[in-house]
Symmetry: C3
Subunit: 351 residues, 3 copies
Amino acid sequence: MPRFRATALGDLAARLGRPLEGDAAWVVRGVASLEDAGPGDLVFVRGPRYAGALARSGAGAAIAPPSVDTGGRPAIRSPRPDLDFARAVAQLALRDRPPAGVHPAAVVAPDAHVDPSACIDAYAVIGARCSVGARSIVHPHVVLYPDVKIGADCEIHAGCVLREETELGDRVVLHSGAAIGADGFGYTFDEQGRPAKIPQIGRVVIEDDAEIGALAAIDRATLGTTRIRRNAKIDDLCVVAHNCDVGENVILVGQSGLAGSTVVEAGAILMGQTGTTGHLRIGAGAFLGGRTAVHKDVPAGARLFGAPAMPERAWHRTMSALARLPDALRRLRAVERAVGIRAPRAGEEEA
Amino acid sequence: MPRFRATALGDLAARLGRPLEGDAAWVVRGVASLEDAGPGDLVFVRGPRYAGALARSGAGAAIAPPSVDTGGRPAIRSPRPDLDFARAVAQLALRDRPPAGVHPAAVVAPDAHVDPSACIDAYAVIGARCSVGARSIVHPHVVLYPDVKIGADCEIHAGCVLREETELGDRVVLHSGAAIGADGFGYTFDEQGRPAKIPQIGRVVIEDDAEIGALAAIDRATLGTTRIRRNAKIDDLCVVAHNCDVGENVILVGQSGLAGSTVVEAGAILMGQTGTTGHLRIGAGAFLGGRTAVHKDVPAGARLFGAPAMPERAWHRTMSALARLPDALRRLRAVERAVGIRAPRAGEEEA
Amino acid sequence: MPRFRATALGDLAARLGRPLEGDAAWVVRGVASLEDAGPGDLVFVRGPRYAGALARSGAGAAIAPPSVDTGGRPAIRSPRPDLDFARAVAQLALRDRPPAGVHPAAVVAPDAHVDPSACIDAYAVIGARCSVGARSIVHPHVVLYPDVKIGADCEIHAGCVLREETELGDRVVLHSGAAIGADGFGYTFDEQGRPAKIPQIGRVVIEDDAEIGALAAIDRATLGTTRIRRNAKIDDLCVVAHNCDVGENVILVGQSGLAGSTVVEAGAILMGQTGTTGHLRIGAGAFLGGRTAVHKDVPAGARLFGAPAMPERAWHRTMSALARLPDALRRLRAVERAVGIRAPRAGEEEA
């Protein structure tokens, strides 16, 4: 079970900058979902819809909008209970933080620079000329190839590999097993028509506050830079190919893939298992539904679905029409009969 | 080549509990496919359809149903030759088992508990308060974050990472590079519309006999538990997001993805590259064909295909109708002409 | 920034076997894209279309077809500028090569054979009876299970796991985190209908010059061999299931998956996120567009798109027709009215 820093509700409300209702001295001992909460737990409710669930919950306190009756429980009042709950959890949850310093079973190149407040954990490998910034945590079994730069307050989980010259800003999080800076998939064909490798000598830059999921691959550029911009969020098992530019605040959900040189502008959201062909641009704030496949540029703010992608309304109409298609073919044949057009025989109609 | 424990066919038949036909002293020296088998090899045939292949095979003995003539070869008679062959291979195949104990190049926290019969291999990292049960094998380069519990007779292959509080039952197998318990992909949006992380403080529980493929990711819950139930089988590069509940005996084939809070009930089969949107339920025994995309609850026992998913028969009819659609549009125009409806000009018909 | 071996342009031209135009003593100090190039950089242009970009570029020299005016810059003339540029970069780019020998923090089984010119880097684990050929580089944190054979001039990037009996030819490259030889996903059902494991005791062979992307999984065969043939190129996060046979020069682009026993013949190209069902054959030189799903054998040279896959022309016609389907249904209803067929009411037409 996760462990928490016992905190007076009044102190928490003050830190969140939200008004408190009820006993300020009430002590938060944990957080939980409405279903699982016990008397020492803080929960949140989004709105009146959840008032019944709160009434039935064992929770001792709630973050809730002013409109929700908390049944006498002390409450932090918030117009954005989900956001304040996320902030509260970040304050309350205790995590084992490995101690600062270099674990004796780690290999650090003599010309690497590791900030004394950083942690390099067991069996990590820090290559030549690397740098690791203040308070960053490099978990066990992380490999930094030469010339990797890591900023301050980053967390690199176990098993990540960062190839040569990868550069991370501050507060970047890489989850277990992410592969950063592996060669892009670049080939041409030789005179005999065989695939011939195009050397991949560019690099990857991941800017401040970006987060990369477990087992995701962000490939180095062929020449130049593959860039993940500030606060972009990339989920597990996504692939970002060489020379992509993923904009600020972009959300790329699980198992999505961006082909080479795709530009995703700020704030776009690509749901799970989406894919793009290369050299195209997804406009700012665009939304691609799950499993969408994009073959051409997407205008800013567009909402697309399907493969090939269509605007949302057209996609809904088309999928609805598709479900009626077998019946429509029968109706078409009936009309042909009514007007004396010989119905095509099986096999004829494709001719 | 794999190595085998030379075994008298009679002994093997006895262990499988099946009747023997022919020489009980015949020695099985290996197992092979019908094409590759040599005179010391045991093969299996599913039924009469494969009798010709068996006749041509160099195999020395067979597991076969009573109806199949084995051409004088000694035979173990079985109503389920594939299942008995699988059991026979499990008995016969020899594997290098690393010796019990902790490799000198491994880091085990002083307050971790490792059963003396377990193996902790080179460069494994066993975090604070972890436990590893009897006869379990932790291969090289596995990282257990603090508070991980591993039951008996588990095998954790090289490169797996198990985040804090992950709990494994008995006989669980994790293949190379699986990422268990990484943060779920949970974000809300802050007052400026930027993605803001929801801390992921839940955990993953994987019950007895479950098996997780190479490079699969099973994310920890936001709050509470992501659960993989008894004997569930998850293939390579699948993603199971936060708070999912994968039922007993479920089969999840390669590169499939379950979005957050998906419930998959017992015995459902999801073929390769399927996907689900979050917060839905796949009923017991349902079957989703390869590449199916599910957007709503699936009834128990349903068979769905396609994206968006349709019942099997509707999908076959719809895909067949779709192939005839270009021709149907021509036929529609002909009918319009016949009844004096002006055929729409190019570009008009979408209006 | 990548580093380069300063080289006289005349020497480079001679090594490429191409005619030089201009100053043979001009020194190449780097390579770059047209946009990023500076005065010491060599670039390439594919043809006259890029002449304007070259004119605006800061590049000092170019590899270009004879038809392109390089504005007085010294030039290597080539009918295949992209291919010669790739070869030039391979000659010019400097890489940190870890020194030959076994790192003191590596575990090598006493009966393994490592060529003295090979490099076994920190925390690598080389199992019993393995062999590593001349000049091959085994990066940190690679694990070779027992009986793995690696040829000459291979490069195995950090975090790769090679299970028992995997065999690599010469010049094979495995990118970060690739999982080679993990168990195939083979189950049958026991008498109670539960998934029962079929032991996977085959192996993986990867032939000369093949390249496997980051976090890709190539599963061992159930019995026999999963084979990746000479010069095949497999991208990040692809899955090749048990008993597949991937032909020479095949290209398998990111996140594609081959189900068990798929045969891909020489020179086929499978674009990103494609999938195949098992036991089928993709003919030589076939092309499958991105996200294609194949359910039956593909003839040699075919070009397929879509899910389920269709020939290219049929797919384009069908997708175009699909976009017109909602309108066609309205037109169909109008025709029905015109001929006095009662238009079906909502809900009726599916009956």
